[in-house]
């Protein structure tokens, strides 16, 4: 992709999403182009400025009836893309249900409730229940760190914390280990505990989690239910990530 950027830094071209023509710059993905044009494509593991990951598959779109992940697929002139269709949103709803039932999400007792992107996605897609039988997996909680809490029950394996630590904080605190349904988040320290890692409260990795898996201690329920991010905003609002991040770091703002 970087080669493309070098080749034609100023080429401007267009793709079509649900009939709407959208410009893109060489090197952009479909997601980049869509968000820049104010078109929402659902996403959980994508974050502007981070290396695209392509794992959650919320951003699936159809390009001339072939499935693709918008966050990793390079925009190519003339692509005819379906995005906001009943069939795609149905697939996304099922994928969201999968994320719910493989973990242990008890929203009413979760501090992230109302600020949680997974929960907001469920509302956005009209998801009313987990639909599938719960997996009830046993997952480890790590409360060892003085200021940061890690509850793997709620982890959706999006690797945003992994990337934030590497790409923004210049550390390498998190990784995913294991295979298949046993995949889980691990901490890069001799004991495997957060307390022995070099994670600090000010790290981006401590704040980026879209769900309630990584939380800052002693700041619970500072914003009352009813005034939380998704009480006031739709998940489909573009640029909301920035608002959330500012809010998580400075709740009074």
């Amino acid at each position: 992709m970087s080669a493309d950027i070098k080749q034609s830094p100023i080429t401007k071209n267009t793709i079509t999403i649900d009939g709407q023509e959208i410009p893109f710059l060489a090197g952009q993905t479909i997601m980049d182009a869509a968000l820049a044009a104010g078109v929402y494509i659902p996403h959980l593991c994508h974050r502007q400025g981070f290396t695209p990951h392509g794992s959650c598959k919320l951003c699936v779109v159809d390009i001339a009836s072939r499935s693709a992940s918008a966050c990793t697929m390079p925009a190519v002139a003339g692509q005819q893309i379906s995005n906001n269709t009943p069939a795609l949103n149905e697939a996304r709803k099922t994928i969201t249900q999968m994320l719910f039932i493989e973990g242990n999400h008890i929203c009413p007792s979760c501090e992230k409730c109302g600020d949680c992107t997974l929960q907001a996605m469920a509302y956005h897609l009209g998801m009313l229940d987990g639909h599938f039988p719960q997996f009830f997996q046993r997952r480890e909680v790590d409360a060892s760190h003085p200021t940061v809490m890690l509850d793997r029950d709620r982890c959706i394996l999006c690797e945003l914390c992994v990337r934030a630590s590497r790409e923004v904080d210049g550390k390498n605190v998190f990784a995913i280990a294991g295979r298949g349904i046993n995949a889980h988040l691990v901490v890069n320290s001799a004991s495997g505990k957060l307390v022995d890692s070099d994670l600090e409260t000010s790290d981006m990795a401590a704040h980026i989690c879209p769900v309630g898996a990584i939380l800052i201690k002693e700041h619970g329920y500072e914003v009352p239910i009813g005034q939380r991010t998704f009480d006031l905003h739709q998940v489909s609002e573009i640029g909301l990530e920035k608002t959330i991040l500012t809010k998580v770091r400075q709740p009074d703002e």
């Binding site: 990793t72 039988p133 390498n172 990784a175 298949g180 349904i181 995949a183």
Partner: protein, 597 residues
């Protein structure tokens, strides 16, 4: 630090240093530790990370990814039964694993309290033409039967060293039944390379393109084009990788080729290296075939001695190329070319996002050709005999021949080489499959066909296969076969993307429910809906094919599912009797009163 700990650390360090000096690949170092200590402890992980200068979390993540690495000690005899429909522990109709478990008083998945023996099941080990098979400390034992199980139990209890077990048990045969253009003649060593030098790189490339050779690993991409893209890509170095991961259940032709045609394979890799300008090659050998390693190493050594590998090959100045072997550790996904490259790089085998493709961004980010064993061997023959010779065999779209691994319900399982275009009926006649009701072509990830389709033909435009062809007779319960495949995919999913990670488990659970007699029409519809989603929305070829057996089965063998349904609209997933299993195990009970029906 007390002296005991100091000793352990000292031993760890010396084993790590020694293994690293042999081969700097993480998988190799971890294998040495697993072998020595029967597990990879947290201290070992720390020492490896320090010695190889890797993040602790990366080493940890790799240990937990591969089936043959363990954090909890295995037994001094580690026994792994294949669970494939052809070479699995149920292949003869009796549960041989349960039988051995009773003899040794051990439950599958566990290590016995005295540390003597551990037992588990593992995905297909590629012995499908030999009946039920297992690996003991990595060595295959084939053609298992009940009598052998008794003897194995006795040998284990007596702690008899493996060298003193009956040698014939370890005898793995080639079983070549039909030879075609590739298997018929054994090329004399070096003849392909010397012919190639006369052609030069451009000429070689053009012969390969002209030949119409397409990849034999399953996807069928033009080999010549792949080599050309790699040659044209920008890069500091180029690599040639042979995919000998052969993990698709029912496939064993690469095992035979590695055993009996290794020279032609290494020659093909050198031909490719010359054509694309690579200096280094890798053979990625599946862990299940580790027993072939000494043989392959000796072939490489002999070729170095003959000037066919190394510096200035065949006295051609600047033609430098050598091959290292990296052995996998039990992960089907590492057959997917980009996951294979990740694994070579010492990471978990997670398929990369494409584009970019390996031909431009492969091993260490450099242009890389990945080809199947058979593809390289075909290339050697093409260079020698010319593209016209190759094109003369097969069909318009599918030139040449295909080497099949045939197993299952037939009189003569083994290796069959046919020109592309052969009908399934012909193949079934030749292998003595008298009452086939179904054939699985290309393994579980391929296509399941019924007898109405036996006139279909083998080829990239009809029935494509990486080499697996499994026959199922009228006596087979097709639902059991499909359930087996669903378990395989759930076990082998890499876990990267949601549809495959969660979807393959939901499919497995749903099929278990139906096979257990608790399924309803609603469950069948759910299977169809889920299978379609997993197929269309997964990240890589594993997820995209994992639901094929279910979708093919629902279409072609609906009665296999329907006859098991309960005629209610809905049955809960929760099974009271199954929930008591743990309690039964703890209390060592399995009598009628310990069950609820």
């Amino acid at each position: 630090m007390d002296s005991n700990t100091a000793n352990t650390i000292g031993l760890l360090r010396s084993i790590i240093a020694e293994a690293y000096a042999e081969s700097p690949h993480l998988l190799h170092v971890l294998y040495a530790l697993q072998r020595q200590f029967l597990h990879i402890s947290d201290e070992a992980v720390r020492e490896v990370a320090a010695h190889l200068d890797l993040p602790l979390s990366q080493v940890d993540a790799v240990v937990e990814f591969y089936s043959f690495f363990h954090k909890i000690p295995r037994g001094r005899y580690d026994i792994l039964f294949s669970n494939c429909t052809s070479c699995g522990y149920m292949a003869g109709g009796v549960d041989l694993m349960a039988m051995l478990g009773r003899r040794l008083d051990i439950v599958a998945g566990n290590t016995r309290g005295d540390g003597l023996v551990s037992m588990d099941q593992t995905s297909c080990i590629g012995m499908c033409d030999h009946g039920a098979a297992l690996l003991v400390n990595g060595m295959p034992i084939v053609s298992l039967d009940a009598a052998m199980i008794d003897r194995i139990a006795a040998l284990v209890e007596a702690e008899t060293p493996l060298e003193d077990w009956p040698a014939e048990w370890f005898q793995v045969d080639d079983n070549i039944r039909v030879s075609g253009m590739l298997l018929k003649d054994d090329l004399s060593t070096g003849i392909g390379l010397s012919t190639m030098l006369a052609l030069d790189a451009a000429g070689t490339l053009s012969e390969i393109i002209q030949s119409g050779l397409r990849g034999r690993g399953g996807a069928g991409f033009s080999t010549g084009m792949k080599w050309q893209f790699c040659r044209e890509a920008q890069g500091a170095a180029r690599y040639v990788v042979c995919n000998a991961d052969e993990g698709e259940p029912g496939t064993f032709k690469d095992r035979v080729l590695l055993h009996s045609h290794a020279d032609s394979l290494f020659e093909g890799m050198a031909v490719c290296a010359f054509a694309v300008g690579a200096k280094q090659g890798y053979l990625y050998l599946r862990g299940e075939y580790r027993y072939l390693l000494p043989h392959l190493q000796s072939v490489l050594a002999r070729r170095r001695g003959l000037g066919l590998l190394g510096v200035d090959i065949l006295d051609q100045p600047g033609f430098n190329f050598d091959i290292d072997i990296v052995v996998g550790a039990g992960a089907y996904i590492c057959g997917e070319e980009s996951a294979l490259i990740e694994s070579l790089e010492g990471k978990r085998g997670i398929p990369r996002t494409r584009p970019p493709f390996p031909v431009t961004h492969g091993y260490l980010g450099q242009p890389t050709v990945v080809n199947n064993v058979e593809t390289f061997i075909a290339a050697t023959h093409i260079v020698l005999r010319g593209s016209a010779w190759f094109r003369a065999v097969g069909t318009e779209k599918s030139a040449g021949s295909k080497i099949l691994s045939i197993s299952g319900d037939c009189a003569a399982p083994g290796i069959y080489e046919y020109p592309f275009g052969v009908t399934i009926r012909q193949v079934l006649d030749d292998c003595g499959a008298k009452d086939a009701q179904a054939v699985q072509i290309g393994g579980p990830s391929g296509t399941l066909i019924g007898s109405a389709e036996f006139d279909r033909r083998l080829g990239f435009d009809d029935l494509s296969t990486g080499g697996s062809l499994m026959v199922f007779s009228q006596a087979r319960d097709m639902l059991a076969v499909i359930v087996n495949f669903a378990h395989f995919f759930a076990h082998e999913s890499c876990g990267f993307c949601t549809p495959c990670r969660v979807g393959t488990v939901l499919l497995k659970n749903g099929l278990d429910k139906i096979a257990g007699g608790h399924g309803t029409r609603y469950d069948l519809d759910e299977m169809q809906r889920l299978a379609t989603l997993v197929k269309s929305r997964s990240h890589c070829g594993l997820g995209q094919t994992a639901a094929n057996p279910i979708l093919d089965g629902l279409q072609r063998f609906p009665q296999a599912f329907e006859q098991r349904l309960v005629h209610r609209d809905f049955e809960p997933h929760f099974d009271l009797d199954a929930a008591l299993e743990e309690a039964r195990q703890i209390s060592h009970r399995d009598d009628a009163a310990a069950h609820i029906e």
